[in-house]
Amino acid sequence: MKTLPFILLTLACAMSLNAQHLHNGDNTLSAGKVNSEHSIYHLDAQWTDHQGDTYSLRNFSGEPVIVVMFYGNCTQVCPILIKDAWQLYSSIEKSIRDSVNVLAVTFDTKNDTPEVLRDYAEYEQLNIPNWHFMTSESANVRSLAMMLGVQYTKKSDGHFAHTNLVTVLDKQGRIAKRIEGLNQPMEKTAEEIKSIMANGMQQ
């Protein structure tokens, strides 16, 4: 009998913690803290993009990179998140845009095969140079998400609750800018990417 209050208290705490992380109904998680001194290029893993090409993240060093995490079956915010990444990309001055890569990394390593990602890129009309819809082993995706401060969890219905975040990496793979939320203005961030290109040592 004494254990009942303890169980109830534990449940209440768990529900309270859960409530702190779920917003906008049920699918949005807040971005986690990150260390902007660490380079994601230290992650030693192989990634495959929608063209079937394999990469190590450090292959993208030397230029600014835009990273967005999503999943292909999302019927809520991911198409808007991808649109936001495209909005940022297309806001970058044309003369330097070709030097910026965009990595759209899927949470759904089970369903989003390179072939599925190719169809997705075609559908979104983003099967274009510099855009890489990428997948890897689940552990690698989780590691990248942790370094970016992207939280995600798979729900019982097969969908994911996740952070809505667009991240800009500097030339060394460190986090230079994070844009959390949807439909955010991108012009200032586009200017910052230009500055990264010019300075090369953006923090």
């Binding site: 906008n24 019927t75 649109k83």
Partner: protein, 157 residues
């Protein structure tokens, strides 16, 4: 007495004709409502086709879910399926109880979609002014379910 009656009659006629002339010149702006209902495969615009006049305002009222109202336009990475003289539009993310207003300026056929649910056929059509036939709009890279809806639910007008 007859003269007074005649003057009164002429005055009434002049006033009446002026009133009707003013009514004829007035640009009446109407507001049409489209409800955005459902989620996932049940997501839909109700009604799926609306008839308006140039200058009319359409209010999109979101009843549930997360949606957008986005023009088929290259600005939204889609083929052009609105009049060439019209500007693109995109509501951004809308959630339950949001209301978004769209003013239709040009005559013609406007096709639009919901970004999260386009693949499930969540599309709609606006007929503005006197539309005699649906233009031969491009179909490339438009999801099958969306085309099906355009071909089966939006053709009668």
């Amino acid at each position: 007495m007859k003269k007074l009656l005649f003057i009164t009659l002429v005055t009434c006629l002049l006033i009446t004709s002026k009133v009707f002339a003013d009514i004829g010149n007035t640009q009446w702006v109407d507001t049409v409502t489209v409800e955005v209902k459902g989620t996932d495969i049940n997501a839909r615009f109700v009604p799926v086709v609306v008839q308006v006049q140039p200058g009319d305002v359409i209010q999109f009222v979101v009843r549930e879910g997360l949606h957008t109202v986005s023009a088929y336009h290259p600005d939204n990475r889609r083929p052009l399926r609105i009049p060439e003289t019209a500007g693109s539009f995109d509501s951004g993310l809308l959630k339950a109880d949001d209301i978004w207003f769209l003013t239709i300026e040009a005559e013609g056929v406007y096709d639009y979609f919901c970004l999260p649910h386009e693949r499930m056929g969540h599309v709609g059509r606006i007929l503005s002014g006197s539309v005699q036939s649906i233009p031969d709009y491009p179909t490339i890279r438009i999801p099958e379910a969306a085309l099906k809806k355009f071909n089966t639910e939006t053709t009668s007008f």
